[in-house]
């Protein structure tokens, strides 16, 4: 819904882009220095049991109509060997959170302007936000890998599956001979449950079905034994029966390799099945986080409650589905109070203040709401 207040004069727009360029140039200049001392990006984990810690991460997009705060102070952590599900509607910043971790946000428009993302590589702990490009390149693929949503578009259509897998393995294991690389590629294809692995090695992506392509993507992500797998909507483009196959595969592989998974999805069912911990995001902020049991059995934030109620569940018949009234606030012009206040049913006197702080309900369960006790 466009409002008349969205209108920006040409003069105003020019002023914003000039200002944006000044800010982004400054950040880019800092990033592109020749020799960045290690002390700037090597840190310590707060809890050695964690694989990744997000600490007040802020990723903004400096667009010509204003600054979009896609991720605005997100804090959570991914423990080693566990699965963390990030849920939220489209545009709530869940994908940008994962892209910030990989430092794949479209620069120079998108910049991580604050906070720390600490990633434990096993030897060193690296603060991804300040790490130079060269360090990041070694981290991506080797230590963290991403499975994208669209298996159709993330494979290169003009190369054979084998060549695409080989390329990655050869790049990350430079000491391997050609034969070893090929053997490893075929082994990886076998591991993700492709029966005809030698045949698929020689095929082009268009010869495979959606489920098979997603398996190839998973094989590619796993080929370098990453510590963290980021799965960005891995099953959204797939059918239910194929989705069940892929989720089953991910679960099995996780227990075999022992890596952590960051699962980004909008499907509450998938999260309930896969995740140990759940993070619920709304308009660039974490509104509630806790174990899967905390979130699904005892949701406290009105947004989480609304989200659960609006999803039709097989076997529970209702006359009318619940729907959250109103819509998400304009990302360019966020209110200075609780972002959910205008859509909230339990909103009261207390909610008039600034954006609520995270309230600790138990050791694992946190919620950003003034009235977490109300149901």
């Amino acid at each position: 819904m466009a409002k008349s207040s969205n209108y920006i004069s040409a003069k105003e727009s020019r002023r914003i882009s000039r200002e944006n360029r000044r800010i982004t140039n400054e950040i880019e200049k800092k990033r592109k220095r020749r020799h960045i001392p290690e002390s700037e990006y090597v840190t310590q984990m707060k809890d050695p049991e964690n694989c990744v810690e997000f600490d007040e991460v802020k990723t903004y997009f400096f667009t010509d109509i204003g600054t979009v705060k896609s991720v605005d102070g997100v804090t959570f952590s991914v423990p080693k060997g566990k699965t963390v599900g990030i849920v939220g509607e489209s545009g709530c910043g869940k994908s940008v959170t994962s892209l910030s971790l990989m430092q794949l946000v479209q620069r120079p428009t998108g910049q991580t302007v604050g906070g720390e993302i600490r990633f434990d590589t096993g030897e060193k702990v690296i603060n991804v936000v300040n790490a130079p490009e060269e360090v990041m390149r070694r981290l991506r693929g080797n230590n963290m890998a991403m499975i994208f949503q669209e298996p159709m578009t993330s494979l290169n259509p003009v190369f054979r599956i084998g060549a695409q897998l080989d390329e990655e393995i050869a790049l990350h294991f430079p000491k391997m001979s050609k034969e070893e690389v090929k053997a490893r590629s075929i082994e990886m294809l076998g591991m993700v449950g492709i029966a005809n692995k030698e045949g698929v090695y020689k095929m082009y992506p268009h010869e495979l079905s959606g489920g098979m392509r997603q398996r190839v993507m998973i094989a590619m992500a796993l080929s370098c034994d990453p510590k963290l797998i980021i799965a960005d909507e891995p099953t959204t483009a797939l059918d239910v029966t194929i989705q069940a196959q892929i989720l089953d595969l991910l679960r099995e592989l996780k227990s075999r390799i022992g890596s952590s998974i960051m699962l980004i999805t909008h499907d509450l069912g998938v999260v309930a099945e896969m995740a140990d911990y759940v993070v619920v995001m709304y308009a660039g902020r974490v509104v509630e986080r806790g174990t899967a049991r905390d979130i699904f059995k005892d949701p406290r934030h009105p947004y989480t409650v609304g989200l659960m109620k609006s999803k039709p569940v097989v076997g529970q018949h209702v006359k009318q589905l619940y729907s959250i009234p109103g819509s998400v606030p304009n990302p360019v012009d966020m209110p200075d109070y609780c972002y959910f206040r205008d859509r909230c049913e339990r909103c009261g006197e207390k909610c008039k203040g600034a954006y609520p702080e995270m309230v600790k309900l138990s050791d694992t369960h946190y919620v950003a709401c003034y009235l977490p006790e109300d149901k």
Binding site: E89, S209, L307, K311, V313
Partner: protein, 324 residues
């Protein structure tokens, strides 16, 4: 509830030719819809579920004659749709409408919303010129749009609002029968609920009949009265939604239902995970089409295609397991 049948489909077949060879002749056929029959009583919703490529959308579009059928019969209120001439079909167009899946690509970016909704109304001369503007405003209000949206363009709207425009466009012609081709799959959960509620409300107010095509079983369970499960162009199970969900009979339906992820972390179900992918519809397996992935596969399944059998109460299943 009235028992008048609005839409009846008998042995519908749609084969798409595959051209190839030196002279570009027809080398083989994709059997997109292969012998599908069902009927929808007035004021009810029939759900059509199945995986992608199983022919759900083709069925919906063939009923509307957006695609010409290969063989079979389609009746709309007792009239044969496929035998209609141009003028008759033009009249019929106002009675049967479709809502497409993707609200981002099914609206013309160059037309204002009022024009998108009103174009067909004007073309079919459904209302007097003087009442035209009021009529459009009323339709928009019914679908949850504000009258001042009339002069806006589709790009100014969010996904949910756009889907409302699509619904308003279909309903402006005052149809009796609407094909909803995955109307909510491109939308977020909370928006999904709004659109489903809207479809419900409109059905009650206008006594609409829906054919609701979707791959999301939980949505289908909520909206439809009867259900058809399709696999590789054929119907494998039909019946009342409550019956099928209470006791799915066909092995494919059982697998499909067990694959639904439930939003409950304590629930650990015994999942039936199907092996492999759907076979190509250009070259479907002999005998029962599902036998390549079925765990109850018997010898006869590989040779003889099963027939549709009524197992009681209008619950029909197409499987050799229920041969008596």
């Amino acid at each position: 509830m009235e028992n008048e049948i609005v839409v009846e489909v008998k042995n519908l077949k749609k084969y798409f030719p595959i051209k190839g060879g030196f002279f570009g002749g027809v080398t083989s056929e994709v059997k997109a819809v292969d012998d599908v029959s069902f009927s929808i009583p007035a004021g009810t919703t029939m759900g059509l579920v199945g995986e992608s490529g199983c022919g759900k959308s083709t069925t919906g579009r063939t009923i509307l004659r957006l695609i010409e059928k290969t063989s079979g019969d389609i009746f709309f209120k007792g009239e044969d749709v496929s035998a209609m001439d141009k003028n008759k079909l033009r009249e019929l167009r106002t009675k049967m409408q479709i809502i497409f899946q993707d609200p981002y690509s099914s609206l013309s970016p160059r037309l204002p919303v009022g024009e998108i909704i009103g174009e067909a109304v004007r073309e079919h001369k459904l209302v007097e010129k003087a009442e035209y503007q009021d009529y459009i405003t009323k339709v928009m209000k019914d679908c949850g749009l504000q009258p001042y949206h009339k002069d806006r363009y589709p790009h100014e709207f969010s996904g949910g609002q756009r889907q409302r425009i699509c619904i308003a466009r279909a309903l402006a012609l005052n149809p009796d029968f609407v094909v909803c081709d995955e109307p909510v799959s491109a939308l977020d959960v909370s928006i999904q609920a709004q659109i489903i509620n809207l479809l419900w409300k409109l059905q009650e107010e206008r006594k609409l009949t829906y054919l609701f095509i979707s791959h999301d079983l939980s949505v289908v369970e909520h909206i439809s009265d009867s259900l058809g499960v399709m696999y590789l162009g054929s119907m494998v199970e039909t019946g009342k939604t409550s019956d099928i969900f209470a006791e799915p009979l066909h092995p494919y339906t059982q697998a499909l239902f067990s694959a639904i992820p439930m939003p409950d972390p304590d629930l650990k179900k015994d999942r039936i995970i199907l092996e492999g992918d759907i076979p190509s519809p250009a070259n479907p397996p002999k005998g029962c089409k599902f036998h390549t992935r079925c765990k109850h596969c018997m010898d006869c399944c590989k040779e003889v295609a099963p027939e549709m059998k009524d197992v009681g109460g209008g619950h029909c299943v197409c499987c050799h397991l229920y041969d008596k």
